[in-house]
């Protein structure tokens, strides 16, 4: 029996992707524009949003990152499917 992930799982992952992409773009932008206040505020906002989104996801589906960057429930969830390439 293969586990089937619900829509919320994919929506959350997509939202996480969007936030991460925005953060990457803003990081690169801020490297060359250190005194752009507006972009810096946007970056901090997105970073907070990203933390909340990742937290919600991890509370429901398990750890996103390893080696202490995410928490896990009992039993150890890291080995559960779907693995990143199976998503």
């Amino acid at each position: 029996m293969s586990t089937k992930m619900d829509n919320y799982y994919y929506e959350k992952l997509e939202e996480l992707q969007q936030l991460d992409f925005g953060l990457v773009e803003l990081t690169l932008y801020l490297d060359t524009h250190p005194n752009d206040l507006q972009a810096l505020q946007q970056f901090n906002q997105l970073a907070q949003q990203r933390q909340q989104c990742a937290h919600q996801f991890e509370m429901r589906y398990g750890p996103l990152l390893q080696y202490g960057h995410s928490l896990s429930r009992y039993p150890w969830q890291w080995v559960d499917t779907p693995w990143p390439w199976q998503v």
Binding site: Q18, E25, L26, H33
Partner: protein, 73 residues
């Protein structure tokens, strides 16, 4: 063609081994014309930025695929 697409016309000789390609196109993305990105440029909403590959419309380059099933951009 949109403004980023440029064309050139290769030389076609009578002894060419293969059927001639008369028009070849290349893309000149907008970042070639912006030496230093100005501040506070308008931005795409995040979901669209992810799809388009950049946060700023001013830097967006569709880079359309020329094969038949090329994704419309």
């Amino acid at each position: 063609m949109n403004n980023q697409m440029r064309e050139y016309y290769p030389f076609v000789g009578p002894f060419d081994p293969c059927p001639p390609i008369r028009v070849k196109t290349y893309v000149v993305p907008p970042n070639q014309f912006i030496p230093y990105q100005p501040m506070n440029l308008p931005q795409f909403p995040l979901h669209e930025a992810l799809r388009r590959g950049t946060l700023w419309p001013a830097l967006f380059s569709p880079y359309p695929s020329r094969c038949k099933g090329g994704y419309p951009q």
